[in-house]
């Protein structure tokens, strides 16, 4: 049975899905705006925690919608997140692939991609800012964010190791 909240959740994420140029990280500011600011389904802290968990799990990052969905409306919410976030964009990908193969519009694609890249970069930076706002609640938290970013940029450490180290530090009460 889908609850009313789950339906609402599905409708919100179906819209996010079609706006999610650049994938989950770029769509995060919009998810945050709807889920935290408009509906108040989760707060800032919970949003960052759920996104952190989603990064620790296998599979496509867009499934963070299912994780937030579970928090909002249990199993029905998780299903709503999956269908809402993956459904519309997949139908669009289906339609575009068919058109594409018919016309072979390589130049057009190159042009569109060149225009979307800078916007996607700005959106991803914006996601980093919002997650930092939710996750950095102490000096230790801000320090860990900075060290993780630096280590990711300048060493070849696997993200899973970073997450495991962060979890251990947090468990020990240092963050």
């Amino acid at each position: 049975m889908m609850t009313q909240t789950a339906w609402q959740f599905l409708i919100e994420f179906a819209q996010v899905s079609l706006l999610a140029f650049g994938g989950a990280s770029a769509a995060l500011p919009e998810m945050h705006r709807r889920v935290v600011e408009e509906h108040g389904w989760v707060n800032d802290e919970q949003f960052s925690e759920l996104f952190g968990l989603a990064q620790a799990a296998p599979g496509p990052n867009v499934l963070v919608a299912s994780l937030i969905g579970w928090k909002v409306a249990q199993f029905a919410g998780a299903v709503a997140g999956l269908i809402g976030m993956v459904g519309p964009s997949s139908l669009l990908a289906y339609a575009v692939t068919r058109l594409w193969d018919r016309q072979g519009a390589a130049r057009w694609r190159e042009w569109l991609l060149a225009a979307l890249v800078p916007i996607t970069i700005g959106l991803t930076l914006s996601s980093g800012y919002l997650l930092t706002r939710g996750a950095g609640r102490s000096t230790g938290g801000y320090l860990l964010i900075a060290v993780t970013a630096a280590a990711t940029l300048w060493t070849r450490i696997h993200p899973l190791w970073s997450i495991a180290i962060g979890a251990a530090l947090g468990y020990a009460g240092w963050i």
């Binding site: 296998p58 579970w70 669009l92 890249v117 700005g122 930092t132 996750a135």
Partner: protein, 175 residues
């Protein structure tokens, strides 16, 4: 495009979803290009860039486009459901655990650590993208605008894209 059955597609993308810790792209490449040799590196790059130009998860889009080309609508459905099958169950389990135990004090510390690392990873991704050679001066302004409008001013994404995508398309075309 090689002739591949929906069952083979389901299994291949099941494998990609299962292994995709910390980013699915390297796994997708490994399975489709190196192990199965269904695509050449150039074909993979081409499919990937098309999927990046579309909204939604890049890897979910790739599964739909690739499945469609190999085995029609059934192929697209098989590849997509193979991809999300295990991750969805994992996300449900995480959602259950989070809702049930997330407020316990040890779990709370652990989540603080995980969310700080998650934020750091996204910050690093954004900065690394911003350092790309595609970001020459006029285009960097669009990245900055996207960051300010969605991150600091919290404008709806639809409005931001409606403003920035057409103007960025013009800017790219004029160069």
């Amino acid at each position: 495009m090689p002739s591949i059955t929906p069952v083979q597609l389901f299994i291949a993308f099941f494998q990609i979803g299962l292994q995709g810790f910390g980013g699915v792209l390297p796994w997708a490449r490994r399975v489709l290009v190196e192990e199965r040799q269904w695509l050449t590196p150039e074909e993979f790059l081409e499919q990937w860039s098309l999927c990046q130009a579309l909204p939604g998860g890049n890897i979910t889009n790739l599964s739909v486009a690739f499945g469609l080309r190999c085995a029609g609508a059934l192929g697209a459905a098989a590849a997509l459901s193979g991809l999300v099958f295990v991750p969805f169950l994992v996300f449900c389990l995480l959602g259950f655990l989070y809702t049930r135990y997330g407020a316990l004090s040890q779990a709370e510390g652990l989540l603080r650590g995980v969310s700080a690392v998650g934020a750091g990873l996204v910050v690093a991704t954004g900065l690394r993208m911003a350092a790309s050679p595609r970001m020459r001066s006029p285009l960097a302004l669009f990245a900055l605008a996207a960051f300010v409008l969605t991150g600091l001013l919290r404008w709806p994404l639809l409005l931001v894209l409606g403003l920035l995508v057409p103007s960025c398309l013009l800017a790219v075309r004029r160069r």
